[in-house]
C-alpha cells in the first residue's frame, strides 16, 4: 500500500526525518510511535502530501493512484492538529468534508447519519459544532476522516480526548475498518490500545527507526519477553543490579519493589543470585513486558527525544 523509502526532511535547525524507510501492507494496522518531536507528524504530512520530502520517495499502491497522481479521495486523515468549523452544523460539516474527498453529497449524508447514530450523537446533527463537548467533537472529527471510506487512512492520535469506554469503541471501529479492507496508519500514545490493535509497529526517534515489526518481534528483539518483579524487606543494595551482565535495566516502582529487565543472553540462575545478594527477598514473580515498557526502554537505549 505504501513505500516510504530513504526519506529525509530537514527544517532550519532540525533533521525531522532522517533517511527513514518503512513499508505498510494493504489491509493492516500499522502503528507509528515515537516521543514528541520524533518525526511522526512530519512523516505523516509527507504521506498526506501536505509537505514534500527533501529526498527519498513515497510511493502508494495502485489502488490509491489515479494515473501518475495520488487520488486524494482514496486517503483519509485525522490530523493531530484538530479543528472543525465551530459555527457550522455537524451534519453539514461532515457532508462538506466528505464531498471534498469526492463523495456524493446524498450518499455522504446517509453514511454520516449512520456514523453519528453509532456514536450516539445523531439527535444533535443539526446543532453547531461549538455546542458539542470536546469528546463529541473528537467523534465528529474521527467520522470526517473515514466517512468517504478511504483505501488508506492515517489516524494521528485517534484516542486523544476520549474516555476509556469511547477509546474501546474507537479501537473496535478501527479493527472493523481494517477487517473491511482499509489500511490504517496509526499514531498514538495509548500503548495498551496500540498493543491490542496494531498488526505492526514502527518506533522512531530523531527521525530514525529504532525498532519495528510485530509486537511479538519487538518484544523478543528488545528487552526480552519477561521481566522480574521483586519485593524486599529492608534495605536493597541496588548497585549490584548495575554491574551484572545478565540485567539490562532495573526500575524501582515502589519502596522496596523493583522491576528487573534481562539482557539478551541472560542466565536466570545468575539473576536470582544477584536478587538474593541485594537483600532479603519477600516476593518474586515474572510478568510479560508490555509495549509501554518497551517504548520507555527503547528510548533509554536508543537515544533521547529532542524537544
Amino acid at each position: 500500500m505504501l513505500k516510504f523509502k530513504n526519506v529525509v526532511k530537514k527544517f532550519t535547525k532540525v533533521r525531522a526525518v532522517d533517511d527513514l524507510s518503512f513499508e505498510i501492507k494493504k489491509g493492516e494496522i500499522f502503528a507509528l510511535l515515537g516521543p514528541n518531536g520524533a518525526g511522526k507528524t512530519s512523516s505523516v504530512r509527507m504521506i498526506m502530501q501536505i509537505m514534500e520530502p527533501d529526498s527519498g520517495s513515497i510511493t502508494f499502491g495502485p489502488s490509491v493512484m489515479q494515473g501518475d497522481k495520488v487520488n486524494r479521495s482514496k486517503l483519509g486523515y485525522l490530523p493531530e492538529e484538530r479543528g472543525l468549523y465551530q459555527d457550522a452544523p455537524i451534519i453539514k460539516t461532515l457532508v462538506y468534508l466528505s464531498t471534498l474527498r469526492g463523495s456524493d453529497p446524498a450518499e455522504a449524508q446517509k453514511k454520516a447519519n449512520a456514523w453519528l447514530d453509532r456514536f450516539g450523537i445523531l439527535d444533535r446533527k443539526a446543532e453547531k459544532i461549538s455546542t458539542l463537548s470536546k469528546g463529541n467533537q473528537q467523534k465528529v472529527q474521527f467520522i470526517a476522516s473515514i466517512l468517504h471510506e478511504p483505501e488508506f487512512a492515517i489516524l494521528d492520535e485517534p484516542f486523544s480526548g476520549f474516555d476509556p469506554i469511547n477509546q474501546e469503541l474507537i479501537s473496535d471501529i478501527i479493527r472493523e475498518l481494517r477487517d473491511g479492507g482499509m489500511t490504517i496508519l496509526l499514531s498514538a500514545h495509548q500503548m495498551q490500545l496500540i498493543e491490542n490493535i496494531a498488526d505492526r509497529i514502527l518506533m522512531i526517534n530523531n527521525g530514525k527507526e529504532l525498532i519495528s515489526g510485530t509486537f511479538d518481534d519487538i518484544r523478543n528483539n528488545t528487552i526480552s519477553d519477561k521481566k522480574l518483579i521483586v519485593t524486599y524487606d529492608g534495605d536493597v543494595k541496588n548497585e549490584l543490579f548495575q554491574g551484572s551482565g545478565d540485567i539490562r535495566n532495573s526500575i524501582m516502582t515502589a519502596p522496596g519493589e523493583w522491576e528487573i529487565y534481562f539482557s539478551e543472553n541472560y542466565s536466570m540462575n545468575e539473576v536470582l543470585k544477584i536478587m538474593i545478594a541485594a537483600g532479603s527477598v519477600k516476593t518474586l514473580k515474572t510478568s510479560d513486558v508490555n509495549l509501554h515498557e518497551i517504548f520507555i526502554e527503547s528510548f533509554r537505549n536508543g537515544g533521547r527525544a529532542h524537544e
Binding site: 501536505i50 486524494r72 471534498l100
Partner: protein, 397 residues
C-alpha cells in the same frame, strides 16, 4: 464538470453559505429600518420642540421703521418705549428670545441667552431690509439691481465625441461606492474566514483533501460572491428608494434610466467584478500569512486595496492629468479610476481594452500568488512569513 472544478464549486458554496445568510440580511435591514424610523420620530419630536418662531423685541430701530420688521420667521415686537432693564428681565425669564438694538444701517446688536440657530435668518432679514433702504437712498431701480446681481452664465463644451449624461456620472459614482462596499466586505470576510480557519486548526484537514490552489480559488469566488450579493442587495434597495423618491417628487425616472449608456454599464460591471476578484485574491494571500490578527503587523497591508478607490475621487477633479491617465490602465487602480475617466472625459477605444486585459491578467496572477502563499502560510503556526519570503513566492507565481 471535471473533479477540480466541482471541488472549487463545493468550496465556493461552502464559503458563501458559511457567511451569507438571507435571514441575517433581512433581519439587518429590518433593524436598520426600525432604528431609522425610531431615529426619525425622535428627531422630528426634538426638532418640533426646538424650532419655534422666536420672539424678538426691537429696542431701537435706527434708520429703519417698525414696518420693516414683519416676517413669518420671527415675531418682532416694538419695545422701543420700554427700558432695557425690563427687556432683560423678560429675556432672563424666557418670555423673549432676543433683544435687537439697531444703531444704524451698518450696525446692530442682538442680545440672547446663547447661540441660536435662527441667527442666520435674522442676518438675512436685516441684509434684505438694508438693501431696500440703500436702493431708495441711491435711487436705484429694483430691476436694475436684479440685472447687476444676475452675473454671467458660463456654458461648458467638451472636446469629445459625445458627452456623458448626468445619469452616466451618477452611475460611475454609484459604481465606485459599490466597489468600495465590496472591498470592505472582502476585507472583513477573507480576514475572518482565513485567520479563523488557521486559529481553529482546520487547515491541515482540508489541505490534505484538496490542493491549496483549489481551496483558495473556492474561497476567493465564495467571498467575492458575498460581496457582490451585498452590492446587488443594497444597490437594489437604493434603487427602490430612489424610485420611491422620484415617484414622490414626480420626476421622470424612466427618462433618467434611458440616459444610461448600456455599453458603459457593461464595462463598469466587468471592471468591478475583475477588480473585486483581484482584491479578494490579494486579501486571501495576506490573510494566510497572519498568525494572530490581534497582533500581526501585516493586518495593515489589508488596507492597501482601499487606495485606488480613494484615488478615484481625486480623478473627478482632473480626469485628464498624466497620473490619472496612467492609473486608469494600471491594473491595481484601473477598476476604480477608469469608470471616472470614462464619464468625465474622452477616452480612446484602446484604453478600456488594455485596462481590462491587464486587470484580468493581474487578477489571475494574484490568484496564483495567493495559492502559493496560502500553501505555505496556512501551515505556519506561531510565526509569520517575512515580506522577503512573500516577495519570493510572488516572483515564483
Amino acid at each position: 464538470m471535471n473533479n477540480q472544478l466541482k471541488t472549487v464549486w463545493n468550496v465556493t458554496k461552502w464559503e458563501y453559505t458559511r457567511f451569507f445568510k438571507w435571514i441575517d440580511l433581512i433581519k439587518g435591514t429590518v433593524f436598520f429600518l426600525a432604528f431609522g424610523l425610531i431615529g426619525g420620530v425622535i428627531g422630528f419630536w426634538v426638532a418640533s420642540d426646538t424650532i419655534t418662531t422666536p420672539d424678538i423685541a426691537v429696542h431701537e430701530y435706527g434708520d429703519f421703521s417698525s414696518e420693516n420688521f414683519q416676517s413669518s420667521q420671527f415675531t418682532f415686537s416694538d419695545r422701543s418705549e420700554d427700558a432695557m432693564d425690563v427687556l432683560l428681565e423678560e429675556l432672563e425669564a424666557g418670555d423673549l428670545d432676543g433683544i435687537l438694538t439697531i444703531v444704524s444701517t451698518d450696525s446692530a446688536t442682538i442680545r440672547m441667552k446663547g447661540e441660536r440657530g435662527w441667527l442666520t435668518g435674522l442676518r438675512q432679514h436685516l441684509r434684505e431690509q438694508r438693501t431696500d433702504l440703500k436702493l431708495q437712498e441711491f435711487d436705484i431701480d429694483a430691476s436694475v439691481f436684479a440685472a447687476i446681481e444676475d452675473g454671467m452664465v458660463l456654458h461648458t463644451e467638451f472636446d469629445r465625441g459625445s458627452e456623458s449624461s448626468s445619469a452616466d456620472k451618477w452611475l460611475a459614482g454609484i459604481a465606485i461606492f459599490l466597489i468600495l462596499m465590496a472591498v470592505f466586505m472582502g476585507f472583513a470576510y477573507q480576514f475572518t474566514a482565513i485567520t479563523g480557519e488557521k486559529q481553529q486548526r482546520i487547515t491541515e484537514q482540508v489541505i490534505s483533501a484538496i490542493s491549496p490552489q483549489t481551496w483558495i480559488d473556492g474561497k476567493i469566488l465564495g467571498i467575492t460572491g458575498i460581496g457582490l450579493t451585498y452590492v446587488v442587495y443594497y444597490g437594489g434597495l437604493g434603487l427602490i428608494g430612489m424610485v420611491a423618491l422620484i415617484n414622490f417628487t414626480g420626476a421622470p425616472f424612466g427618462q433618467a434610466l434611458v440616459l444610461i449608456n448600456p455599453g458603459l454599464l457593461i464595462l463598469f460591471l466587468l471592471l468591478s467584478i475583475l477588480g473585486i476578484l483581484m482584491i479578494n485574491s490579494f486579501f486571501a494571500g495576506i490573510a494566510a500569512t497572519i498568525d494572530d490578527p490581534n497582533t500581526s503587523q501585516k493586518s495593515a497591508l489589508m488596507m492597501i486595496p482601499l487606495y485606488p478607490v480613494l484615488f478615484a475621487f481625486v480623478a473627478i477633479f482632473n480626469a485628464d492629468s498624466t497620473a490619472i491617465q496612467i492609473l486608469a490602465v494600471f491594473p491595481l487602480t484601473s477598476y476604480a479610476i477608469l469608470p471616472v475617466r470614462l464619464v468625465m472625459t474622452q477616452v480612446p477605444w484602446w484604453e478600456p481594452v488594455v485596462a481590462l486585459v491587464l486587470l484580468a491578467a493581474t487578477a489571475w496572477l494574484f490568484r496564483v500568488w495567493a495559492g502559493k502563499i496560502f500553501a505555505t502560510g496556512m501551515m505556519m503556526y506561531g510565526k509569520e512569513p517575512s515580506l522577503r519570503e512573500m516577495v519570493h513566492w510572488f516572483r515564483r507565481a
